[in-house]
């Protein structure tokens, strides 16, 4: 088979995975929320546990009218979901699902991930500004402040892992952990910083000031409907998966397993969805922080902690 056919097949697999994962996570979130709040959650559409609700939601989303606000900045508004969604899909290129199950094993894997992740802010800003709505603009401004502040500790936290493993390739990091055990043993502090910063990057509670349904009516994507809103939603939930997969790759041994290829992929997915579950759990258990608390936590605690972790790791490596 020629190379470009393989490439197209891979792209289709990733897109299908993004779609299924997004639908599944929206359903899972509603079920977990129901469980935590001592109610049932969606239970009407299909068995078991209203599982076919996710298909019903998807069909509804695809068939809804795509309303453009009259006062919107047309092209910026139109292009924003694309700019927001593309980097998320691009991140799948370097996620190691198994020993050979990876899009492309780049020697700059982690920098590539950081680069594509940093581009999402532009999509948020375009959506917020293009909608010409004060809630959207406020959401975008908060997103700007929050994503800049928490991207720094997020990237600095990974440096400890990079120093130990001596590689930027995601596959290389997993291979190191296959030989030496999980990185969480030596990089626990880095994981704590990474996890908190990750919640903020994903705009999840307790750091969901950007979306804040109760005050901003879901922030920068207030004015979107139908499939455009769906693209934001899919991007958000795919981002949760990507970040969780990155956490598993960096700290929890990635696909390392004794059960062969299929076992490795399964182990990787189980670990990733365990972290996704943790994120959902936190969302329904913790209240939202204030914006000054958010900034204080980011700049005065996480940043020094991540810097301390780098210095400490360096000292240990030197001795």
């Amino acid at each position: 088979m020629p190379e470009w056919v393989m490439a197209i097949i891979k792209i289709l697999i990733v897109l299908a995975f993004i779609g299924l994962n997004g639908m599944f996570l929206i359903w899972a979130e509603r079920k977990v929320a129901g469980f935590i709040q001592a109610r049932i959650g969606p239970a009407r559409v299909g068995r078991p546990q209203g599982f076919f609700q996710l298909f019903a939601d998807a069909i509804k989303m695809f068939s809804k009218e795509d309303v453009r606000p009259a006062a919107a900045d047309k092209w910026v508004w139109w292009f924003a979901p694309v700019v927001f969604f593309t980097p998320v899909a691009m991140a799948f290129l370097v996620l190691p699902f198994g020993p050979n199950v990876i899009g492309l094993d780049m020697n700059i894997g982690l920098i590539y991930l950081a680069a594509v992740a940093s581009f999402a802010l532009l999509g948020v800003f375009m959506a917020g500004w293009g909608s010409n709505n004060k809630y959207s603009l406020l959401g975008a401004m908060r997103a700007g402040a929050q994503m800049i502040s928490y991207e720094i500790p997020l990237i600095l936290a990974t440096i400890g892992v990079i120093m130990i493993t001596g590689t930027l390739s995601t596959q290389g990091i997993v291979e190191y952990q296959v030989a030496h055990g999980w990185n969480i043993k030596t990089q626990f502090l880095a994981f704590v910083v990474f996890f908190i910063a990750m919640l903020a990057e994903l705009n999840r509670t307790p750091f969901d000031l950007v979306i804040a349904e109760s005050e901003l009516t879901s922030g920068f994507f207030t004015e979107y409907s139908g499939i455009r809103w769906g693209m934001f939603m899919f991007a958000e939930y795919t981002n949760i998966f990507v970040m969780s997969a990155l956490a598993v790759t960096l700290f929890f041994g990635g696909w390392a397993s004794p059960f062969g290829l299929v076992g490795s992929v399964l182990i990787f997915l189980i670990k990733t969805y365990a972290i996704v579950f943790l994120i959902i759990w936190i969302r329904w258990s913790v209240p939202r922080v204030r914006i000054d608390q958010l900034m204080t936590l980011g700049w005065k605690f996480l940043l020094p902690l991540s810097l301390f972790n780098i210095v400490f790791t360096g000292l240990i490596l030197l001795i």
Binding site: A71, D73, V76, M106, N107, I108, I111, Y112, A114, A115, V116, S118, F119, L121, L122, F125, M126, W129, N132, K134, L137, A140, M141, G144, A145, M147, I148, E151, L168
Partner: protein, 183 residues
């Protein structure tokens, strides 16, 4: 078909168009967005030269951080026009405004084209004289390691001095924005 040429043409078109729009668009927010696309196109050039690391850093630092700072500056400076309705103008008015103005329309375009022509002549002379090779050197196996080795051995002192300059700029900015007697 030559895919490399096609990619180069696409990136060049994207770069020139978005760079042109950065300076001619009436909305400063549009300028920021076009600036981001300019940086992305430039990262594409780095990628074509198999400088993976530079391409990623270009996106991370410029398209990510610098554009975010520009956006922040726009949002924090209290201008009224960023949330207002765009001015309605017809297509002909727009073309006239873009190319007709003698200050930032046709004249800068002609000057830029002239400079580009002169540069092409100079580059051709330089290449013909044998100072530069027009063929790219062999792509490095691991450019990240190569850059790190050079940066932290041969160019360590300039590297640290640059970071010191950035620190001084940061402190300067804080002092300048703080008014007298304010905490």
């Amino acid at each position: 078909m030559n895919w490399e040429l096609l990619g180069f043409a696409f990136l060049t078109g994207m770069l020139l168009y978005s760079a042109f729009k950065v300076v001619t668009t009436t909305y400063i927010t549009h300028a920021a967005i076009y600036l981001a696309f300019t940086f992305v196109a430039l990262a594409g050039f780095f990628l074509m030269l198999s400088a993976n690391f530079l391409a990623a850093v270009q996106i991370l630092v410029y398209a990510g951080a610098v554009v975010a700072l520009v956006v922040f500056a726009i949002m924090l400076s209290q201008r009224q026009d960023y949330s207002g309705k765009p001015i309605e103008e017809t297509r002909t008015e727009k073309i006239e405004r873009t190319f007709g103005s003698q200050y930032w329309g046709a004249l800068p375009l002609v000057i830029a084209a002239g400079v580009a022509a002169i540069m092409i002549v100079i580059y051709r002379q330089v290449v013909a004289a044998g100072y530069w090779t027009s063929e790219p050197g062999p792509a490095l196996e691991d450019s990240t390691v190569a850059i790190a080795n050079e940066l932290f051995t041969k160019y360590l002192i300039p590297f640290e001095v640059v970071s010191l300059v950035l620190l001084a700029a940061m402190i300067g900015a804080i002092i300048l924005t703080k008014r007298e007697g304010q905490r």
